[in-house]
């Protein structure tokens, strides 16, 4: 048993006390809304120094995890990743087959589950991953010029690789993906694929390639965020976005590409399940709560479909609809951050900057550079708002990252770091947000609804999160 577990009644009482504390903190003291330097020693706005309260906040949500076994449930694992160096990386296993074949297949583990991207990307054995193209020769997509390639954009780098077609199986009983959900004949990105060479300069202009196991730290990424294609209509008409390329004699240049050819969120194209339902409108990530000191191993479930089966209902979760970019609004420390997002592929809470949050950043020579290092544990509070007007308070913990990670655990619910500054009153403002990374998912059931796919009542969905 874990020493942090308390009864629900305890949790409610302590949470009530905590909310009162946060409210008091917000109304008194340093209520300045310009957030200058913060001076030495003050408690950061939106937060209180915590001890017992943090424990309560940690346990205030602890939703059940659906057991593995059903066709629409896949495993989630947080174990440090294939190189045992990945903090808060959440992985699943997928089986990849030649289109139309159930015999020519490979099973790939440690595929990062990412609600911040769309589409399946797999790293070849050439790049240190597991997909062996020599034995599983997935057909390439091509146009009149030659094979198609993609330069996928992430906030911290790019992945370059060929677009190939595969049948994908995931979930199901007894860890046999072939009995799980299936997405047939879908475009996927194959990273470190010699047929399209190394990334052209037009691609590396967007960031540092993460095209090997040390850069990607995973054998692939399964993007299950709230959109279908990784680009969408923009790339159908505009090659200058720089996502898609066609290659000839080793030279790859930007091209426009149809929606059908774009790398796609596999969930959106799931075939009908044996239940008769089609679990293609989204998913639920379910992870148990973890102690404040973290955990070396966490297991959870990824349940496909929302309201399509007996095991994936919203069950009272609040729906926060997102805007056209997949963002919601977070209000934190009196700042309105209109481009916030819930991203299992980020490994902490990332928000504001040291000068605007008054939370120091760990030194460059520490073991947690560019995370937050406040000398006490903090318990903080923010309000999420959907485009649909839904509102809800989130209470979360922040530890001194440098001290925290010394124990070498793989999963922490209290890692945080700086992001970008809040809107600048009176000057030009750029979109900015609160990145709710995997830390947010522990103890919750987090639903991600995919735009344009019919909901359980047959109506096309807008992109949304729910928890």
């Amino acid at each position: 048993m874990n020493p942090f577990r308390r009864s629900t009644a305890d949790n409610l009482w302590t949470l009530a006390a905590l909310v009162a504390l946060l409210f008091a903190a917000g109304c008194g003291g340093n209520s300045g809304n310009t957030g200058g330097g913060g001076g030495g020693g003050g408690t950061p706005a939106g937060c209180v120094k915590s001890s017992d309260q943090a424990v309560a906040a940690n346990r205030s949500v602890d939703k059940a995890v659906t057991p593995l076994g059903a066709q629409n449930v896949a495993s989630l694992t947080i174990d440090g990743g294939p190189k045992n160096n990945y903090v808060n990386g959440v992985f699943t296993t997928v089986t990849v087959c030649l289109p139309g074949s159930t015999g020519s297949c490979q099973t790939i583990d440690h595929v990062l589950v990412d609600t911040g991207s769309f589409g399946l990307r797999l790293l070849t054995t050439t790049g240190g991953g597991q997909l062996n193209l020599a034995s599983l020769h997935l057909p390439a997509e091509s146009d009149a010029v030659g094979p198609l390639a993609e330069c996928a954009q992430f906030s911290d780098g790019i992945t370059w690789g060929a677009v190939r077609v595969a049948d994908i199986y995931i979930g199901g009983p007894t860890a046999n993906n072939m009995l799980g959900e299936k997405a047939l004949n879908i475009p996927v990105q194959v990273i470190a694929d010699s047929t399209v060479g190394s990334p052209p300069s037009a691609c590396t202009a967007f960031g540092t390639p993460e095209d090997d196991i040390s850069g990607l730290m995973a054998n692939g990424i399964i993007g299950i965020g709230p959109f279908q294609q990784d680009c969408g209509p923009g790339c159908v008409t505009d090659s200058s976005i720089g996502l898609y390329y066609h290659c000839s004699s080793g030279n790859c240049s930007e091209t426009a590409i149809s929606l059908a050819q774009q790398v796609i969120n596999p969930i959106a194209v799931f075939s009908a399940a044996t239940s008769g339902a089609t679990d293609n409108n989204g998913s639920v990530m379910q992870l148990p709560a973890v102690p404040l000191a973290g955990a070396s191993l966490v297991n959870g479930s990824l349940v496909f479909g929302i309201g399509t089966e007996s095991n994936n209902g919203l069950a009272g979760a609040t729906v926060y609809t997102a805007n056209g970019g997949g963002d919601i609004t977070t209000v934190f420390a009196q700042r309105t951050l209109a481009n916030s997002f819930i991203d299992s592929g980020s490994n902490g809470y990332f928000f504001l900057t040291t000068s605007t949050s008054s939370i120091p950043t760990c030194s460059d020579t520490s073991n947690a550079p560019r995370f937050y290092c406040y000398p006490n544990n903090l318990t903080c509070s923010a309000v999420n708002q959907g485009a649909n007007g839904a509102k809800g308070t989130v209470t979360f913990n922040i530890a001194d990252a440098s001290a925290l990670v010394q124990n070498g655990n793989a999963a922490y619910n209290n890692l945080a770091g700086p992001n970008t500054p809040p809107p600048n009153p009176g000057g030009p403002t750029m979109q900015t947000g609160f990145d709710w990374g995997l830390t947010f998912f522990y103890g919750r059931n987090v639903f991600t609804g995919i735009e344009g796919v019919p909901d359980a009542h047959g109506n096309p969905q807008v992109p949304f999160y729910a928890y």
Partner: protein
């Protein structure tokens, strides 16, 4: 903080004077750390249109919009240097063009075994870079601390 107070004063006065104005005469080149020249090389390279510019007492902001929908702003000092750039929109801008001589050091900065995944922060003595967001919604900024005009807080670069 004194500098904040001064900055607020500057912004308040310039806002009342300078609403957003279309800037047609001398489009600028948005490469960090370089002179803002009259050559529209950057817009040509990024296939973008200059939309607006605005002048504060201590710096000028030029804004261009890429065909992808992403907005890029450059911040030019009274000395004519691009001391900061910021971007926001569905897709990333061409950083090689935007960051100029700072592109290589930013992209090659060590990532510490990539312990941090998500928003990217690169802090070097000569340049500061922050990139956040996700497919279909990115934003970020970069600036050269030594080129910040006197009294200008880096928080304005966005």
């Amino acid at each position: 903080m004194a500098s904040n107070r001064i900055l607020r004063g500057v912004l308040a006065s310039s806002l009342s004077l300078s609403a957003l104005t279309f800037f047609l005469a001398k489009p600028a080149r948005a490469t960090l750390g370089r002179d803002a020249s009259s050559v529209p090389e950057d817009q040509a390279h990024m296939r973008a249109a200059l939309r607006i510019s605005r002048s504060e007492a201590t710096y000028t902001v030029h804004e261009i919009k890429l065909s992808s929908g992403t907005v890029v702003r450059e911040f030019v000092s009274p000395a004519g240097k691009v001391f900061g750039v910021a971007w926001g929109g569905p897709w990333l801008p061409d950083f090689r063009q935007l960051l100029g001589d700072y592109f290589a050091p930013i992209m090659q900065a060590p990532r510490d075994d990539r312990r941090r995944r998500g928003a990217l922060v690169v802090k070097r003595p000569e340049v500061f870079f922050q990139s956040t967001g996700h497919m279909r919604s990115f934003s970020g900024r970069a600036y050269v601390p030594d080129m910040l005009p006197k009294g200008v807080d880096s928080g304005v670069i966005q």
